[in-house]
Symmetry: C2
Subunit: 171 residues, 2 copies
């Protein structure tokens, strides 16, 4: 059976091949995954041609000041929300000057859950020249497994978006 | 035997305990490790109290435009160099507004090596209120193992620096 690392690297490899085919660059904004998505992408040799980097926006101050998520969104919806995930993806896309931004924000646990946002809640988003997509999940695993599932989910979302928009005009 | 993930998480835990004892905040600037240092730190529950986030500065444009590494340093010394590692640590410290910045820049391989900077060359740096420290290594493993060794080395450097300066005045 493949390890988490192998599964993540394989998902990253598929995404990078699709980006390469369309000559698109990618940046990531990671909160609860803390760098795991970037780690997976950079496990692939040659990833530097399309993966430019990202922002690990763990503290809300970093989401606001470095990724430029509007403070009003953080106050109105909380850091773990669909609008903030989309704003993080848009923000990293703009700050890094890349074609595609992706974002993950969630509660990996074991602490930090609330009644309406339990531990394991994660919002993910992808913003590209074709538009935006977002989804959310509630995982029921431990901290590390929740991080791995979140990273796999955002890579899968990006893969689906790249395939769905294959016929789009590239920027 | 501990897995790489367990060894990295244990190293992160020691660093976070030392940061907590001195009420210091941390940010990371990662090139060749691609997010692995941030991933290790955020494997530790409660890390958000001291780890604010970081910048995955994979492309040189991100080193220059987001981490604010002076272009002259990149041209004079190359991205994989002691001055650039120190500038990355200083840059992320300033951009994130944290007490301590750490940085990793290297060539994970298998491509990208040159005669004077072979595959496996990595420069790491830590900048804190007490000053700066840097070192370099030349690993001889594969891409993923070179990333793991680099992440462990920068966490070890930070641990040593935090212990060495224990008697320093905190900011």
């Amino acid at each position: 059976m493949a390890t988490d690392e192998e599964t993540l690297t394989a998902a990253a490899q598929r995404v990078l091949a699709l980006l390469a085919a369309r000559v698109l660059t990618l940046g990531v904004a990671e909160s609860c995954t803390g760098g795991l998505v970037g780690h997976a992408l950079t496990n692939v040799s040659g990833s530097s041609a399309h993966f430019w980097g990202g922002i690990i926006a763990y503290a809300n101050d970093v989401k606001r000041d470095v990724v430029h998520v509007p403070e009003a969104l953080l106050i109105a919806h909380g850091a773990v929300s669909r609008p903030v995930a989309i704003a993080m993806a848009e923000g990293v896309r703009r700050v890094l000057g890349v074609d595609v931004g992706l974002a993950v924000t969630g509660i990996a646990g074991p602490a930090g859950g609330t009644p309406d946002k339990p531990v394991g809640t994660v919002h993910i988003a992808v913003v590209g020249p074709w538009g935006e997509a977002a989804e959310h999940h509630v995982w029921d695993a431990d901290r590390l497994a929740n991080k791995v599932r979140s990273a796999l989910a955002v890579l899968a979302l990006l893969e689906r978006e790249l395939k769905r928009t294959e016929q789009s005009v590239t920027p």
